[in-house]
């Protein structure tokens, strides 16, 4: 009898030591070379330190010896899933500094391409999120539909990922004659596929159990930590620059800024899912109305910015991307700073994940949609 009593100890008496484990740099759910030093007690996350810099490529330093048209080509190596928006940010920044007005045709095409990039990025996020949580089927669904967008990119500008399409002064090439037909065919098809995504994952019991009510971020914290994009909007931080500071053709379209005031992992998931519908709506409003005209304005052989400081903010698939150019009037910039959305977003995860289980940390990370080259630059 005494022996049995010794075995029946309550869970309160079980003590484990705190220990540190490295998650990454080669961990599938960190989506790249990111190392998280996680301080655990049992399964509970006590603290988490992100260690970055494994693929720091010194892009900001490289820009100082490159000309302005060349800088654009480096930016799609940063956040490769928002390559078009990054190009656009540099192009807009240089155009604003030189006070060049691009034709309406350029603005429309840029907006359509930006939204296609956003769709492709959210598709990849969705399929990888499913995979992080153990649902491999989502990966095939997402990649299947993303393929159509990449085909459109390839036909338009020859590249599938690093598009290099927006350049200061306009676009690299005009759109392909099939562009409008293909985009419309894609939208028509994807409208029937997106409800499939919901049927597959959004209502799945295991998925909702692991995401609803997990990993809260309040609106105040989102603002204080500079968390933007769908992640910030899921906490009720109205930060959509397409709405607040419209650039290109965003002032000509009607769309809703998707907001949620819940702020948990499921809210971040739902905001991105709804954004895909909004992106399709934006493309539909523009695709038949692309004005005739030139696809670029004539730029000087050597682009020199006037002396001064120029800032341009755009909304990428991950949040607010900023280009800050300090010019001293020469053909190379004096200093360029890229404000990347992933950098600010990443450092909130420690704040959110404290007290949750390590499996929840994976789910939280997934809804942050991190792209490591965007953080490291």
């Amino acid at each position: 009898m005494n022996e049995l009593k010794e075995v029946m100890i309550t869970t309160d008496e079980i003590k484990t030591d705190e220990y540190l484990i490295n998650m990454g740099p080669q961990h599938p759910s960190t989506h790249g070379v990111l190392r998280l030093l996680v301080q655990l007690e049992g399964e509970i996350v006590h603290n988490m330190q992100p260690h970055i810099g494994y693929i720091h490529s010194g892009i900001e330093k490289m820009t100082e010896s490159l000309s302005y048209p060349q800088i654009g080509h480096l930016t799609d190596r940063m956040d490769y899933l928002s390559a078009h928006q990054n190009n656009e940010a540099v192009a807009l920044c240089v155009e604003n500094a030189l006070q060049i007005e691009v034709p309406d045709r350029v603005k429309y095409i840029r907006t359509i391409m930006s939204e296609l990039s956003r769709l492709a990025s959210h598709q990849l996020w969705w399929c990888v999120m499913g995979m992080d949580m153990g649902a491999l089927t989502t990966f095939f669904y997402g990649l299947r539909d993303r393929e159509d967008i990449l085909d459109i990119f390839e036909e338009t500008c020859g590249a599938r990922l690093t598009v290099n399409y927006s350049i200061p002064g306009g676009l690299m090439f005009d759109i392909h004659p099939n562009f409008q037909r293909d985009v419309k065919a894609f939208i028509k098809k994807f409208k029937t596929k997106l409800p499939e995504y919901d049927r597959l994952l959004s209502g799945n019991v295991i998925f909702t159990e692991r995401t609803k009510g997990v990993g809260f971020l309040s609106r105040e914290d989102a603002i204080a930590y500079g968390v933007t994009g769908p992640t910030g909007r899921a906490s009720g931080f109205s930060c959509d620059l397409r709405k607040h500071q419209p650039y290109s053709a965003y002032s000509k379209v009607n769309f809703n800024e998707v907001l949620s005031d819940v702020g948990d992992t499921y809210a971040r998931y739902q905001v991105r899912m709804q954004e895909m519908w909004e992106s399709m709506s934006i493309i539909e409003q523009l695709i038949d109305n692309i004005p005739e005209g030139d696809y670029a304005v004539k730029m000087k052989g050597v682009v020199k910015l006037p002396e001064g400081e120029f800032y341009q903010r755009v909304e990428t698939a991950r949040g607010e991307f900023g280009v800050f150019i300090v010019s001293d009037g020469k053909k190379n910039p004096y200093r360029v700073k890229f404000r990347s959305p992933g950098f600010s977003n990443l450092f909130t995860i420690n704040h959110i994940a404290k007290g949750w289980k390590i499996a929840d940390l994976v789910a939280i990370m997934s809804t942050f949609d991190l792209v490591i080259p965007d953080i490291d630059r």
């Binding site: 204080a224 930590y225 931080f237 001064g308 400081e309 120029f310 900023g322």
Partner: protein, 151 residues
């Protein structure tokens, strides 16, 4: 708040501030010693309410280094650029603003890593991307004979 009103309010709050309208935003130069109190003030002040720090940049000008803070008010939608010069380039240091905006903690670590600017009272000032014995690559006098080919 309009740019003119913003300039007037900033001059009222901080007598030593040099405020002007830049290419896009209102820019203000603050002496390094006054930075922390000024930043606290513009965050707390209800008419200014700069609650969103969206960009922190360090710039190397030959004789000094400069920190540039881009601030926005979510409520009032106005933007302010705050600039602060460090004293020389040997031991550049400014006060941290990470206790005012938590996001600054990481942007300041980046500036420390790449430009060697120290932030007084920073809770966790470590190198972010590079090794401890690495130089400060974003400085203009940084030499790297292997990786940087000078033309």
């Amino acid at each position: 708040m309009t740019n003119e009103a913003l300039i007037a309010t900033i001059s009222q709050i901080e007598a030593e501030a040099e405020t002007r309208l830049g290419a896009q935003y209102v820019e203000t130069f603050i002496p390094a010693a006054r930075l922390h109190s000024f930043m606290t003030r513009i965050k707390e002040d209800v008419t200014l309410a700069f609650d969103y720090l969206f960009c922190v940049t360090g710039v190397d000008y030959a004789d000094h280094l400069q920190m540039v803070y881009h601030l926005e008010s979510i409520l009032h939608k106005h933007v302010l650029v705050v600039k602060v010069k460090t004293d020389g380039r040997e031991t550049p240091a400014v006060d941290t603003v990470s206790d005012i905006w938590p996001t600054a903690e990481f942007h300041e670590r980046e500036a420390y890593d790449l430009l060697g600017i120290k932030f007084n009272n920073h809770p966790d000032l470590r190198r972010m991307f590079l090794d401890d014995n690495w130089g400060y690559p974003l400085r203009k006098d940084y030499k790297d004979d292997i990786h940087i080919v000078s033309r």
